[in-house]
């Protein structure tokens, strides 16, 4: 199995958290995983793009036209990174409103900012929320719900219950 994920967002939105969760989920499945993160200058509110490569890989970076999935925590950051998606079969899961343009890729968009403004969602859990959307809507996503939940527990047991609640909420919202 080989699956390459680009996680795009703005510094501070918790993209690195998702890299950690997917690495832990891979380890629970006993699958190889290489990821790479942004630190330093790029954390200061700038554009952030992290990579996760699940399966037999030797290099942590993802080349253009290779990613199976792009999880974007913000609309413009999705567009800024679409060149990483596979020309055939790449999927975008994006937090964006209805103005998100057609790109030719399979796109699942949900306006998580609007939900946060309506106090339906804590903004700090945006990353976990988008992971829930991914679980519900990406049929090729190589992890099961239980594996992601376990990874969230391993990652930080103290806040796991809240995060898993957000995950469930996202999965429900995504199926509506």
């Amino acid at each position: 199995m080989k699956y390459q994920v680009v996680i795009a967002g703005i510094g501070g939105q918790g993209a690195v958290f998702l890299v950690k969760v997917l690495s832990i989920a891979s380890s629970l499945k006993n699958v190889k995983c290489l990821g790479t993160e942004n630190h330093g200058m790029s954390q200061r509110g700038g554009s952030v793009s992290c990579f996760v490569k699940v399966g037999d890989f030797f290099s942590p970076a993802i080349d253009e036209a290779q990613a199976d999935l792009l999880i974007a925590l913000e609309g413009n950051e999705a567009l800024r990174n679409i060149q990483y998606l596979k020309k055939d079969g790449g999927t975008i899961i994006v937090n964006a409103d209805s103005n998100f343009p057609l790109t030719g890729y399979e796109t699942i968009s949900i306006d998580a900012f609007a939900k946060a403004k309506n106090k339906e969602l804590p903004i700090q859990a945006l990353n976990v929320y988008m992971l829930g959307i991914t679980l519900a809507r990406d049929p090729h996503f190589p992890f099961a719900q239980e594996e992601i939940e376990e990874a969230i527990r391993v990652m930080n047991p103290k806040v796991a219950a809240q995060n898993i609640e957000v995950l469930h909420q996202a999965m429900q919202d995504a199926r509506r």
Binding site: S23, G35, Q43, G45, F57, S59, I82
Partner: protein
């Protein structure tokens, strides 16, 4: 056992597993997490270790090196430009050698992600004549730390580990040692003046000869340990690839995915290379390609008409490596047709740029805004330095950025070269401690006239908020006393989220400058909004909103102040993004000429 580790985490754990109990360095992306993680492991395992941030890389190197001379296993960490600072000590240490072991970790940043240069620390190892190990992944980084400590002890030399950002900040499921067999090593300095204090010319000449002998022995080790075991696996296709570090990963993946036939010789120790043995392998091949980042370190040590790389213009010379660049090299040499396999289609319409910016609520923003209000841009020069405050660029408050501490010496230089302009230099507290004190003494004794702002947020913010000397030991170390000790008065301003007051302070400095005959120095006591200990007390948590009737869309807040939550809405009025605003209250009342920012009364 298996553990999911970031590269810098793997390095820290391997240092503990190697018995290193003395580590020193200066933070710098992508190396910064090594010491922090080492401290975390030492605490978890209840080990007695020395793991401290030094005032700069040279100091950090020298502390660790003395430990190794006294027989301990030690480590110094830094980023590649930090090695420039430590290089004075390194060059001599390479002649002298050591008794215990010392690993010098210098993390590189191909692609300029968080650095001002793309320099290759392996080239520095070659310059200094010390062996260097180049890991491709966090697992290799773990293994090579342990190996590096052994090599250092065996050959009595400093050994460099050179992880790049894609190793330091990569995450991998690593196989690491199960138990912990940690024996604190006891230092015992044995007097040997001829060695530890060798004087030129005779003493150093002798050590130079020993250094050359040592290199030959390490070359033989490189061949026997790393290279010869791979020779049997070479399949004698037409092309041989020599790949080092991340270059190996990119090459290996690209060859597999594109079904290109080529043999790969992985170079784990890119210096010193057993040139004759490696070149002897070339006879079986039509061409040899070197994949390494970022300088042609391996390529420069070899010679053959069959050799292709950066020097022959076949492999890229700048920017981060990629699989696309592997294919480009094959195509440049004429082995494959030009390929677009690793080329994606970028989004073609314009996207708003999102450059790094000072955090919402950061006091630096108010300081730069006030500088720009008080000092006329046309008749001023603004030298600055390396740190978060470099992002004052966004506010037009910075003209030059060179290197750690450069702001102060450059202010001196500008005051001589262009004396009709007012020079307002800015530097952070950690950078001042690192390299700012000697240029300040230089300016005081030579009467160079400029204004210096020491923006003291009491942490090394950009690299992840490592402790500064003043923060760690406030009763002994005070920037104000240091400035006064340099022979100049110190103005002091305790930051308040009140722009009028910050402007008033800048005006006071401007007045002092008029009659000054030397530097006018000020320390501004700020805080970092990400500082979990101090920020909660410092932030008033008074949140702002905009009265749309008062907003006249004058652009002052979006072009001069540039706080991330402030943006235009569809009605072309400024709005404050409630998710980004952290309630510093600085914009309320004084920032907007029409007073459009007002406090949100309800409890948030």
């Amino acid at each position: 056992m298996k553990e999911i580790l970031m590269g810098n985490d793997a390095i820290a754990l391997a240092l503990i597993h190697s018995g290193v109990d003395m580590i020193s360095g200066y933070p710098g992306t992508p190396s910064s997490e090594i010491i922090g993680n080492f401290q975390k492991y030492a605490k978890n395992f209840k080990l007695q270790t020395y793991a401290q941030w030094a005032t700069n890389e040279k100091v950090g190197f020298e502390v660790a090196y003395a430990g190794a001379i006294a027989g301990k296993k030690t480590c110094a960490t830094m980023k590649q430009v930090g090695l420039n600072v430590a290089s004075d000590a390194l060059m001599s240490a390479s002649y002298i050698g050591l008794k215990g072991a010392m690993l010098l970790i210098s993390a590189d940043d191909p692609g300029f992600h968080s650095s001002q240069t793309e320099q290759d620390s392996r080239a520095f190892a070659k310059f200094a004549k010390i062996p260097v190990l180049d890991p491709a992944t966090p697992q290799e980084a773990y293994d090579m730390v342990k190996l590096g400590i052994e090599i250092s002890h065996k050959f009595e030399t400093v050994v460099m580990l050179r992880p790049v950002m894609r190793v330091s900040h990569a995450r991998e499921i690593c196989e690491v040692d199960d138990g912990l067999d940690f024996q604190p090593n006891i230092g015992n300095f044995e007097r040997n003046i001829a060695r530890w204090a060798a004087v030129p010319p005779a003493g150093r000449f002798r050590q130079g000869l020993e250094q050359l002998e040592r290199l030959e022995a390490i070359k033989a080790f490189n061949w026997n340990y790393f290279l010869e075991p791979q020779v049997a696996n070479l399949k004698h296709s037409k092309t041989l690839i020599l790949a080092s570090g991340t270059g190996f990963g990119y090459a290996k993946e690209a060859l597999g995915e594109q079904n290109i036939q080529a043999d790969v010789l992985k170079i784990d120790m890119p210096y010193p290379l057993p040139k004759e043995q490696i070149e002897a392998l070339f006879t079986d091949y039509e061409q040899v390609i070197v994949f390494e980042e970022s300088y042609p370190c391996i390529e420069e040590q070899l010679s053959s008409p069959k050799l292709h790389g950066k020097l022959t213009h076949d492999v890229h010379k700048i920017d981060e490596f990629s699989k696309d660049k592997v294919l480009a090299a094959f195509s440049n040499i004429g082995l494959i047709k030009k390929s677009t396999f690793y080329k994606g289609a970028k989004y073609t319409k314009e996207l708003p740029n999102r450059p790094p910016n000072l955090c919402p609520g950061c006091p630096h923003r108010d300081v730069f805004f006030s500088v720009m209000k008080v000092f006329r841009k046309k008749s001023s020069i603004f030298p600055s330095d390396i740190g978060c405050y470099t992002l004052g660029l966004n506010q037009g408050a910075i003209d030059t950025v060179l290197c750690m501490g450069g702001s102060i010496s450059m202010a001196s230089g500008f005051s001589i070269a262009d004396p009709n302009k007012t020079i307002v230099a800015s530097i952070g507290d950690s950078t001042f401690m690192h390299s700012g004190i000697s240029p300040l003494i230089n300016a005081v004794y030579q009467n160079h006239k400029f204004i210096l702002l020491i923006m003291d947020n009491s942490t090394t913010a950009m690299t992840g908020r490592q402790a500064t000397p003043e923060r760690a030991n406030p009763s002994s170390i005070d920037i104000k006393k240091i400035i006064e000790g340099c022979g100049v008065a110190c103005f002091e301003y305790v930051y308040e989220p009140n722009i009028d007051q910050t402007i008033a302070f800048m005006k006071k400095l401007k007045e002092a400058y008029k009659t000054a005959t030397g530097p006018v120095v000020a320390v501004i006591r700020e805080f970092c909004v990400l500082d979990k200990d101090r920020a909660p007390q410092m932030l008033p948590r008074i949140f702002a909103q905009v009265d749309p009737d008062k907003c006249v869309a004058c652009d002052i807040c979006t072009t001069q102040y540039k706080c991330p939550p402030m943006h235009y809405n569809d009605a072309h009025k400024i709005e404050v993004d409630p998710f980004l605003c952290i309630g510093c209250s600085a914009c309320i009342d004084e920032l907007c000429p029409t007073g459009a920012f007002e406090r949100i009364e309800e409890e948030k």
